[in-house]
């Protein structure tokens, strides 16, 4: 009997530690070092990849945001800004998602630039909300928590084994993390946008106070805290364009005033910070009204991502404390005058 339990515990321990050793040596989520060049990295899950990329890549600047920023070509972005940059994206992510990953980036790097592509998720979620639960053991620096990464069957199978297997098959690491993700594979155009409009549910209408409170909380906890903690870093906040169908839905759902209130409030608060610059592309009516640029009411072609990067680097489209409210009000007024039927038929 004594031999039995000794053998069982030793064997189990060896297998568990063996799995841990494999995960440590391959380090498929780049927690300790960049991925070995001989290995093929094909994992594609931002929640798991981003912290390792943030910890063990070489960069001076970061682009964060949601799917609206997903297709940004980082090689072009680097050229425009003249510094080494990576993107750390959470599709459907909240401002808390961005704060979590920027915390990792700031802990491990001195950043010159942060580009933050704004989305409605910045305004309309609770400030503590995440798009979904993150594996926080990958985001912190608390060494004992690494046990969750190392002694993890899912990491072993879904990442370590697959990286090795794909390397053996001769596959190469795709450039997805730096380039276009879905911009050249998905269908764009008026037909798909209008089809999406018919299928989309009506947004839940709430009191204006609800939005005001959320915007204030999100800014305070997830944005301003970072700006104040890192005065040496220049933050570029970018309001991307939205299609005319988006504005029609907002009008139809009765939330358009809340959206404009949020944009104006955010822009004005940010512009009071010494290390923040705000860029406004939502008033480019040639982008707003051309539905051939969209795959649904908000997601645009990669060309727009690249144009926004270029213009931000050049200082074009920038708001100032004097122009912000007026610029946003002009767009609001223009939309009030718009006959949407012209675009929806």
């Amino acid at each position: 009997m004594k031999k039995w339990w000794i053998a069982v515990l030793c064997a189990a321990l060896c297998l568990i530690l063996g799995a841990g050793a494999v995960n440590f040596l391959i380090d498929p989520l780049m927690q300790y070092r960049p991925l070995h060049p001989a290995l093929t990295f094909v994992a594609f899950d931002y929640d798991y990849i981003n912290p390792g990329l943030a910890k063990n890549s070489e960069y001076d600047g970061v682009l964060v945001g949601t799917s609206l920023a997903e297709n940004t070509d980082m090689d072009k972005c680097e050229t425009f800004f003249g510094e080494k940059m990576i993107k750390l994206i959470y599709p459907g992510g909240t401002s808390r998602n961005n704060r979590e990953i920027l915390d990792v980036a700031f802990r491990t790097h001195t950043l010159k630039t942060v580009i933050w592509v704004m989305d409605d998720t910045l305004y309309f979620n609770e400030s503590g909300d995440l798009s979904h639960e993150l594996p926080m053991y990958l985001y912190d620096d608390f060494l004992p928590n690494d046990v969750n990464y190392l002694l993890n069957l899912s990491v072993l199978y879904n990442y370590s084994f697959k990286d090795v297997f794909n390397s053996l098959r001769g596959l190469s690491t795709p450039a997805l993390l730096r380039g276009d993700i879905w911009g050249h594979s998905d269908a764009f155009g008026k037909d798909v946008v209008l089809r999406g409009l018919r299928d989309s549910p009506q947004a839940e209408k709430r009191d204006v106070q609800y939005y005001q409170q959320h915007v204030r909380d999100n800014l305070e906890h997830n944005v301003l805290a970072l700006l104040k903690a890192h005065p040496e870093t220049e933050f570029y906040f970018c309001f991307p364009p939205k299609s005319i169908v988006y504005w029609y839905s907002a009008e139809h759902d009765g939330v358009i005033d809340a959206k404009f209130y949020s944009m104006e409030y955010v822009a004005n608060v940010l512009l009071r910070q010494t290390n923040a610059r705000v860029f406004f592309f939502a008033d480019r009516m040639e982008w707003t009204t051309d539905l051939s640029l969209y795959k649904d009411s908000i997601h645009f072609k990669p060309e727009i991502n690249d144009r926004m990067s270029q213009e931000m680097a050049q200082g074009s489209g920038e708001l100032t404390a004097q122009t912000a409210s007026e610029t946003i009000r002009v767009l609001h007024d223009a939309l009030k005058e718009t006959d949407y039927s012209e675009y929806l038929n």
Binding site: K2, K3, W5, A7, V8, P135, L151, S154, L156
Partner: protein, 482 residues
């Protein structure tokens, strides 16, 4: 601290075992008990240290009640003290568990505006309160020897049973810690303990938590479920709560055995029962025992005629429903089980003529339907799920598919090109769970027949390895909430 956590498996459990057997080896018996109490308190405080004073206060006060009750004090004084003891325990439990529910009802009935306290329920309070209630009542009956405080504190706080049962009696635990023959390490008991722990861990981590993914996604979007999702949500919860609680009980049994302590059986393949009476003889056995001894029998049990017996049964299940949680869903669940129990007894003879398969199917269907009420956050959600059972559609929502995307088995099915791999995975998981629950020996039987063979070693090594490597998706036990 959870049994299914790295810190428990790699730190607290091995260190506690080492210190316990080390001190006992040098005949430092009292020090060994102190070390076990300290480990148990660390285990408890790890969840939330602010709970600790409540546990310690409860232990101290109940011990003092017990000392007075077994003293030579006059009977009237003793009667007063036992009532005080019962009321104090129920009062604390009532405050932490039901005060907000009480205020909600006051607000509803009288259109009042009492502010809810949002009281955080101390972990395991329902369990250690009942355990100590039984001690206080037994002291009044003078069926308890005089225990010293250390023995009493160990009886209540012994960590394998502290937060989710079994609800042990002092007479089952204290004598075992006093038995000198149980203080030395015994390979036989330890091996059985490791086996039970491995099976329990696997049930929890590999089966219950996997089913829980489907259940959570289902109950999060209950009004928009397709027909097949509604059925899967209901069936998966039936199997999730089984494997969750069964896994916990197995781990508690196993850890007890590692310390040479035999905990009472709490779970005996309840889904093998073919009626609701049989089910309650097999599910949470020590809770049923508590209610029988301290509620049903004092109410008169079956000694006062059939009608009174049925009323007593109904009261027991009503109390059981309330014990499980502060909400009308739990009360309705208790009421339905009480009524089913009464009907089952009243029509025992005609029901006996039905084929066993028919009885089992009807019982399993009843359990499924009532677990929906038990799990649903509100009655409205339960009603919505029942409605969706009649809806058509084979589609799985994006949220459900997303929740399964990291699952290795689902990934394997997908990689093999199986169409609808998520649906196939859930159906296979459910089928495996049902077969395990119905056809396999339960862990108590398994460890009684345990033989140290190569086969048993391979099984235990595999279960331990895969389960420990799957711990990072940690989740708490469902019974922690009660």
């Amino acid at each position: 601290m959870l049994f299914n956590s790295y810190e428990f498996v790699f730190l607290l459990l091995p260190l506690t075992l080492l210190v316990w057997y080390g001190l006992n080896h040098f005949r430092l018996y009292a020090a060994a008990k102190v070390s076990l109490v300290i480990s148990s308190l660390i285990f408890y405080a790890y969840f939330n240290w602010s709970y600790l004073p409540i546990l310690l206060g409860s232990v101290l006060i109940n011990y003092l009640f017990g000392r007075i009750l077994i003293s030579d004090a006059p009977k009237a004084a003793r009667r007063l003290v036992v009532w005080l003891g019962v009321l104090a325990n129920l009062g604390v439990l009532g405050y932490f568990k039901y005060f907000d529910f009480f205020l909600q009802n006051l607000n509803l009935v009288f259109r009042a505006d009492f502010t809810l306290r949002h009281i955080v329920l101390p972990l395991g309070i329902s369990f250690f309160t009942f355990q100590q209630l039984s001690y206080v009542i037994d002291c009044y009956k003078r069926t308890v020897p005089r225990y010293n405080f250390l023995d009493y504190a160990l009886f209540v706080s012994f960590f394998p049973q502290l937060v989710a049962g079994p609800i042990v009696l002092h007479s089952e635990i204290v004598p075992q810690f006093a038995d000198v023959s149980k203080k030395s390490f015994q390979s036989d008991s330890f091996s059985r303990g490791v086996t039970a722990f491995a099976f329990g861990l696997a049930k929890k981590v590999l089966v219950a938590d996997a089913l829980g993914m489907v259940v959570n996604a289902g109950f999060d979007a209950v009004s928009s479920l397709s027909g097949v999702e509604a059925w899967l949500t209901m069936l998966c919860y039936t199997m999730q709560i089984y494997f969750d609680f069964s896994g916990y009980c197995d781990m508690a049994t196993g850890i007890g055995r590692m310390f040479n302590v035999e905990l009472p059986m709490n779970f005996n393949s309840p889904y093998k029962a073919d009626d609701i009476v049989g089910f309650w003889k097999r599910w949470h056995i020590t809770l049923t025992r508590f209610f029988t001894q301290y509620v049903y029998i004092p109410l008169g049990g079956n000694r006062k005629g059939t009608a009174r017996t049925y009323l007593n049964i109904f009261i027991v299940f009503l109390v059981s429903g309330i014990w499980h949680g502060a909400g009308y869903t739990f009360i309705l669940w208790g009421v339905l089980h009480g009524v089913a129990n009464i009907l089952c007894r009243a029509f025992k003879k005609p029901l006996g003529y039905l084929p066993k398969a028919v009885r089992w199917t009807a019982n399993f269907a009843f359990l499924n339907l009532t677990w929906v009420i038990f799990r649903a956050p509100t009655m409205t959600d339960a009603a919505a799920l029942y409605r969706r059972l009649g809806a058509g559609g084979l589609t799985l929502s994006a949220a459900l598919r997303k929740s399964l995307e990291k699952n290795i088995l689902q990934n394997l099915l997908m990689n093999f090109g199986i169409p609808q791999s998520e649906l196939v995975y859930i159906v296979l998981l459910l089928a495996a769970a049902v077969l395990l629950a119905l056809l396999c020996r339960n862990t108590n039987e398994r460890i009684e027949r345990f033989r140290p063979t190569v086969r048993s070693a391979v099984v235990v090594i595999a279960l331990l390895t895969v389960s420990v490597l799957s711990l990072s998706g940690v989740s708490t036990f469902l019974y922690f909430n009660f």
